[in-house]
């Protein structure tokens, strides 16, 4: 886990249809249930038709801007290797790039649709958000029919991080 800091900045990216918005939604609710101020920003519409998708989540004591500035992200969660070079500039010096985990979660994910939840399990190991809050967030974001599958994927992915 990282040292506690005032604001956590996370940049998500990939291409339309990969579940990026759901992933950042999950983090947003988890941070909210943990009692934080939280903001998230992304763009809907034309870009979602297979184009590049980017989402930013910021949480902490007090957050103003919904966007993560260039060189400000503590974490980069990239869902597609082709998008990595484009998103890399967001990562701050010393920030954590979850790219090395993409292939690992793809191996444990039963289907491509679960990769987003798996990556969130990896991210959760680095963040000071209680497991209760993640659980509440999953109940909020996932329909009952897919909740259990996602819950399991989340914990299996957490175990990937030593």
């Amino acid at each position: 886990m990282m040292r506690k800091q005032d604001i956590y900045n996370i940049t998500f990216g990939g291409i339309g249809g990969q579940g990026i918005i759901t992933a950042s939604e999950l983090l947003g609710w988890a941070a909210l249930y943990d009692g934080c101020c939280v903001k998230k920003s992304e763009v809907h519409g034309m870009s979602q038709r297979g184009g590049s998708v980017e989402s930013h989540v910021r949480f902490g004591k007090q957050v103003y801007s919904p966007l993560v500035g260039v060189g400000q992200a503590d974490f980069l969660v990239c869902f597609h290797p082709d998008e990595h070079a484009r998103l890399k500039p967001f990562l701050r010096k010393g920030g954590i790039d979850l790219m090395p985990y993409l292939e690992k979660v793809q191996q444990i994910a039963d289907n491509p649709r679960a990769v987003n939840t798996a990556l969130m399990g990896v991210l959760a190991t680095f963040l000071p958000i209680r497991s209760d809050s993640w659980e509440q967030a999953m109940q909020k974001v996932f329909k009952p029919s897919i909740l259990e599958v996602n819950r399991q994927m989340f914990s299996r992915a957490m175990a990937l991080v030593k």
Binding site: C37, H44, G51, V63, S65, P66
Partner: protein, 517 residues
């Protein structure tokens, strides 16, 4: 880091928070046509059973139905994207004269950076042009608050109110306190007040006088409004700002002083003068046009610094407000991303492959199929506004009667504004083919119902518009309906046949969107 929320909180977008606030304000009727970034306002309102919501045929219709409900005596809301307001300008301009009975708010969502739009027009000018008040929230929490305020202002000052948001306000989410309950507002009686509601010249002249008087009263309200807030910190640097720019600035210049404009128009001139006097260096930071800047300069406040003209394009962020404040021109490192394209399995691929092969000039329209202009198909040659795929076929053919020209429009867009163009073409003896790409949804905005799907916003069955019968009634000589799935050759043959006919043809290419559940 744990900080217990004092109120019930939810993680809401600006659109969802605005819907929540409108519901709390006792909203009874809401109308819109889908348009990014405004679409989720109506989708969120559809979750509240107390509100009568509808996808209207287009923005003019939506505005009029909602506004008439307010004239009738219930609180009503119209929502649209910036270019949607152009379609509703006719009723808006005169609704400014006729005023309201119960509260009426027009929520208009601009799209700086054109994430999903054809232009970058700045709706703040509409306040000046229509002589209407504009409120501008910076965040979802403010959207929830301001919309309630907007209904009160509308009723107290007998005026439609514009609430202007931008993509980053509509689509950003934050923790929003939403413990408030709904305030039921009694239905007001139907008034037969012809001097107020029948805009013949004699009545309209009297109403225009009222509009001018009302603007002065609204100006006084703007002066004392808590929505125009002075935050005094260090006097060495002061910002006058609005919308999401305020949040970017607070991040970068936490020690500066602020005049944060939430009741944007009419301007609070006295507050602006007072703030200008209290700071050493005064800057205006705003997205798009120098709307606030030009007004402040017109007050004779010469020390105000605006932005380099390069910032009139696109949106701002933390990095850009830093360079803007330093007086530097806008410099953005390009981060070229993957361009959007038609989905794998999209039914539109087949018609574009045919049109590309036949090498015809394609007048396009607004929707997913606009992506047909991009490689690999590159087979769409114009796209201006809703419905222009139909009218461009006619106009281009008037310039070049011998060219192979066709028009192309989606099902939802055809119903929105394509129908008058088709009647016009038939009436004025135009030729050519109008393709209606019917994927049975409003796909680009995320899949909304429309009259030809036969379902309402709440997915209830309703009367279904019969596109084939409609096109025949408009006067098309041939109307064919074809499912292109596995029938590309037949589609090509049909197109070739109709291209050579001396006739006005409609070909409805019908297959559901792959994203439909």
């Amino acid at each position: 880091m744990a900080r217990k929320p004092s109120l019930e909180k939810a993680f809401l977008s600006g659109n969802e928070a605005l819907a929540r606030g409108a519901w709390q304000a006792g909203l009874k009727v809401a109308c819109a046509y889908p348009g990014t970034p405004s679409t989720q306002i109506l989708e969120a309102l559809a979750e509240y059973p107390e509100v009568d919501v509808q996808w209207s045929v287009n923005e003019k219709t939506a505005f009029e139905v909602a506004y008439a409900a307010a004239v009738g005596g219930v609180r009503a809301l119209f929502a649209c994207k910036h270019v949607g307001l152009n379609v509703a300008m006719d009723p808006l301009m005169t609704a400014a004269y006729t005023g309201v009975n119960a509260g009426f708010v027009a929520v208009v969502c601009d799209d700086p950076q054109m994430h999903s739009s054809q232009n970058e027009q700045d709706t703040r000018w509409a306040g000046v042009y229509a002589k209407l008040p504009i409120l501008e929230p910076s965040s979802p929490s403010e959207a929830l608050d301001f919309i309630q305020h907007a209904f009160d202002i509308s009723e107290q000052y007998d005026t439609p109110v514009i609430v202007r948001m931008t993509t980053r306000v509509c689509h950003s989410k934050e923790d929003v306190p939403c413990g408030g309950s709904r305030k039921e507002v009694p239905v007001r009686p139907l008034e037969r007040n012809m001097r107020k509601y029948v805009m013949v010249p004699a009545n309209a002249r009297a109403r225009h006088e009222e509009v001018e008087k009302r603007l002065l009263k609204l100006k006084a309200l703007s002066e004392r409004s808590r929505l125009n807030r002075i935050e005094m910190n260090s006097p060495s640097l002061g910002f006058i700002t609005d919308s999401v720019s305020y949040l970017y600035l607070k991040e970068v210049f936490p020690d500066a002083s602020y005049l944060k404009l939430g009741f944007l128009y009419p301007f609070c001139d006295e507050k602006i003068r007072k703030f200008a006097k209290s700071v050493k260096r005064l800057m205006v930071v705003e997205e798009l046009d120098p709307f606030i800047e030009e007004h402040i300069k017109s007050l004779g406040i010469s020390k105000v610094q605006g932005k380099h003209p390069s910032y009139r394009l696109g949106e701002l962020d933390q990095d850009l407000v830093r360079s803007l404040a330093a007086g530097k021109p806008k410099k953005v490192k390009p981060r070229p991303g993957r361009a959007p394209r038609l989905c794998a399995g999209c039914p539109h691929w087949s018609i574009f492959s045919v049109l590309k092969k036949l090498d015809v000039f394609v007048a396009g329209d607004i929707g997913c199929y606009t992506l047909g202009t991009l490689p690999p198909t590159s087979a769409l040659h114009t796209c201006l506004c809703m419905g222009a795929g139909v009218t461009f076929n006619e106009g281009l053919r008037r310039a070049h009667p011998e060219e192979k020209i066709v028009g192309l429009v989606g099902d939802s867009t055809f119903v929105h504004m394509g129908i008058p163009g088709l009647i016009n073409a038939a009436y004025n003896k135009a030729r050519g083919i109008i393709f209606i790409l019917d994927n049975s949804t409003t796909a680009m905005t995320g899949g909304q119902q429309h009259p030809a799907t036969g379902k309402t916003i709440r997915n209830e069955p309703t009367k279904r518009l019969d596109l084939k019968a409609l096109c025949q009634a408009c006067g098309a000589d041939y109307v064919d309906v074809i499912d292109p799935q596995g029938k590309v050759k037949e589609l090509e043959e049909l197109v070739k046949q109709r291209l050579t006919a001396d006739a006005l043809s409609v070909i409805i290419v019908q297959h559901p969107c792959v994203l439909l559940k």
